[in-house]
């Protein structure tokens, strides 16, 4: 596209050379069209690239400059070779070559101009865009101005030139892109810009030498647009070179800051689950070391299971204690020995060492929920190598890593808790299977039971078995404490019941045997209270003992009264020898039709409402009398309902169990 235009232009110019009569304005228009089309072409190709690579842009300028300069050199060579021949003094030849040169200069100027624009508008603000647009329009205006062929150095010419030059100067101070170059890139850009300047200088000389021949139809140097663009490009190139040069020493700082930001991001990204804590430790160590140029480092973390993880870099694990010994500052000694009690001050974590290899130390505590779980230590071989700013960076890294570590730990805890919950669920279903699903009975009595644990598992137990025809052994038990340990003891109790209650023995002989057996397996501070009944439906008699359990209630249908079965006795597992017999009384009595036996555990009578009043035996007794005529299952429900009503939303914190027996005949 460019070259078609170029050819076209040349053609017209040649035509013009032959037809001298044609209007003088025509070449001006061609020149302007040439400028605009080149501008459009470069705008399209240079602006098109989305990602800005500054060096690539400058490289483009350099290459365009090279090509155009070679072109102009060829022209010079032509004059050099045909130095004094007639061809070189022929106005036609001069003008023809000059026109080629103009085309080359325009290509170079315009392409450079577009690149400069791209650079200036990097990270643009609204004001900057406005100013730039104004500048561009002003340049366009100067193109039109040139059409009228104002004289070089005339008042109008100078005013416009100074105005455009001023604008260009202001714009030339937009050099944000330089900050984003690294050291090497800065050198490259200086080189490219300098070369571009040399090209310009060369063009200038070339144009001037043409100008001197005074044979030209169009002198480029007499055009405000070109001179202004020239000046602007030179200005920007000069300022950019100087700024880049002065920025060279600081570029390493910028690069380091960037690296820190990247490291910080890496640490943040290690927070989500899936990565191991070891990875976090590695990133923390590596980024910290590179941030402060440490020669050696180590990281010490106390794990949840009590073990300590020690990761070292450029130092052997065995020298770690030596270095700890050689610390001079008290505060750092505290950090190293995990005795940090309060917030640490950044300037206090920098210290000195009396060690042959290392002289400087930074020790930053790793805190999780305000307790120190580890320490990051960075070492330098020279003295006073660390400063406040370095500590700030390290602290940021460490804080980020602590969040990571804390997250890992929380996730692990959550998994562990989930496992415990799962196991408690299993325990709960196992325990449920320890309570009878079918209560053995015959036509002489009905039986119902209800049990509820305060935690997942509980220590209440009830059971009934029929060792011989018409003889039933009934037990209710309550293991001291609650939760898992109570549940284990309850299982022991069940084992003992199922082995001993299979025989037809008296209640007392059962309970003394059970006490001996339990005395061997209960912990010293555990005991079980129980009531044991031998229910003989053959002779309609009840024989029972009370081993420290809350007294069962017996409702007599004949008297319509309730009595408590409070035979003397001591809880199982309290006296662990034969003396136990002395404290246990056995009672036997006959039952009548309609009589009711209510067994319960202390969870019911010790239940408290919001006013901290106990439900008590009286509460239970009242409730029993109120519902005494209901069918047994209904009665069971009613007793619980009354209790819940009394509690009025208060939670029960003990296991509670009810067992009801109603005699028919």
């Amino acid at each position: 596209m460019l070259f078609t235009f170029f050819d076209l232009y040349m053609l017209f110019v040649e035509q013009y050379q032959l037809n001298v009569d044609l209007s003088k304005i025509l070449p001006q228009i061609f020149l302007t069209t040439m400028v605009l089309s080149t501008m459009a072409f470069y705008r399209y190709t240079i602006t098109k690239a989305d990602s800005i690579n500054f060096i690539d842009l400058l490289w483009r300028v350099f290459i365009t400059g090279l090509v155009t300069t070679i072109g102009s050199l060829l022209i010079r060579m032509f004059f050099y070779i045909f130095g004094n021949s007639t061809i070189s003094e022929n106005p036609l030849t001069i003008n023809f070559l000059y026109n080629i040169l103009i085309a080359l200069v325009i290509i170079y100027l315009v392409s450079t101009f577009v690149v400069w624009k791209r650079l200036i508008l990097y990270q643009k603000s609204k004001n900057l865009i406005q100013l730039w647009t104004f500048f561009e329009y002003a340049l366009m205006a100067s193109l039109i101005f040139d059409l009228f062929g104002n004289n070089y150095l005339s008042v109008n010419f100078n005013t416009l030139l100074i105005f455009l030059g001023g604008l260009g100067l202001v714009l030339s101070f937009n050099l944000k892109w330089i900050a984003y170059l690294n050291f090497k890139q800065k050198w490259k850009s200086i080189l490219f810009i300098l070369l571009s300047g040399i090209y310009l200088y060369h063009f200038m000389l070339n144009l001037m030498s043409f100008s001197d021949t005074e044979l030209l139809d169009i002198d480029l140097l007499e055009r405000v647009y070109f001179v202004a663009t020239f000046v602007f490009i030179i200005l920007y190139a000069t300022i950019a070179t100087l700024v880049t040069l002065f920025n060279l020493p600081t570029s390493s700082v910028f690069e380091r800051k960037l690296q820190e930001a990247i490291d910080f991001q890496k640490l943040s990204q290690s927070i989500p689950a899936g990565q191991s804590t070891e990875q976090t430790y590695d990133i923390l160590l590596e980024s910290s070391m590179s941030a402060v140029f440490a020669d050696a480092a180590w990281l010490e973390v106390k794990e949840n299971d009590g073990s300590t993880t020690l990761i070292t870099r450029a130092i052997a694990s065995v020298t770690v204690p030596d270095i700890k010994q050689s610390v001079k500052q008290e505060f750092i000694k505290k950090i190293l020995s995990y005795q940090l009690t309060k917030e640490f001050a950044p300037h206090k974590v920098i210290g000195t060492l009396s060690h042959p290899d290392y002289k400087s130390i930074i020790a930053v505590p790793i805190l999780v929920q305000n307790t120190q779980i580890g320490t990051l230590i960075l070492l330098q071989e020279v003295g006073d190598a660390f400063n406040r700013e370095m500590v700030d960076i390290i602290t940021t890294f460490v804080n980020q890593a602590s969040i990571s570590i804390e997250n890992f730990r929380l996730i692990q805890e959550a998994i562990e808790n989930e496992r415990y919950k799962e196991q408690l669920k299993i325990a709960k279903s196992v325990q449920k299977s320890l309570l009878p699903s079918i209560l053995e009975h015959n036509e002489c009595f009905e039986i119902a039971a209800y049990s509820m644990a305060a935690d997942e598992v509980g220590g209440d137990y009830y059971d009934i078995t029929e060792p011989a025809e018409g003889i039933f052994n009934l037990v209710i038990g309550d293991v001291s404490g609650k939760g898992t340990s109570a549940a284990f003891n309850m299982a022991q109790m069940r084992g003992i019941f199922h082995s001993l209650a299979q025989q037809e023995t008296s209640a007392k002989s059962f309970i003394t045997s059970a006490n001996l057996a339990l005395g061997k397996c209960l912990e010293r501070n555990s005991f079980i209270t129980a009531m044991y009944f031998v229910l003989n439906t053959n002779n309609k008699q009840l024989n029972y003992v009370r081993a420290g359990h809350c007294p069962a209630m017996y409702y007599s249908a004949a008297s319509k009264e309730i009595k408590q079965l409070e035979a003397d006795g001591v809880g199982l597992g309290i006296i662990r020898n034969s003396e136990y017999n002395d404290y246990v009384e056995e009672e036997t009595f006959s039952y009548g039709p309609g009589d009711l036996l209510l067994l319960y555990t202390d969870g019911i009578v010790e239940a408290k409402n919001e006013q901290r009043e106990q439900y008590g035996a009286t509460g239970l007794q009242r409730s029993l009398l109120k519902h005494i005529n209901e069918p047994l299952d209904k009665l069971n429900d009613s007793l619980i309902e009354d209790l819940i009503e009394f509690l009025n939303g208060n939670k029960l914190d003990d296991d509670y169990t009810l067992t009801l027996v109603r005699f028919k005949s």
């Binding site: 404490g481 501070n525 003397d568 006795g569 309290i574 202390d602």
Partner: protein, 113 residues
Amino acid sequence: MVEINTHTEEDIQVIDVAGEIDASSSIELDNALNHASKNFKKILIDLGQLEYISSAGLGVFISYLEELKKEEVKLVIYGLQEQVSEVFEILGLQHLMNISGSKEEALTVLNEG
């Protein structure tokens, strides 16, 4: 929550227990009894301000019965509120421990024999 205060009266270790003893606070009672049983031959426990004792709390007393007997340490508790006293009695502990109504009574029991 439980509040346990100890002091010495002549050769007697006096332990005042106030509040409620449940599974978690029973540890404090255990500590107090452990210290007393190792250092004194006479222990007096004031349960006047004790409002509730769970089975775990009773378990603490029970766990010391054998040791105290063997070491010939005399322990008397006194001033039990009605509900607490009932709990001790239901379990049958009145047969195994010295339970007195007042401090004077308790001191007499402690100092006799």
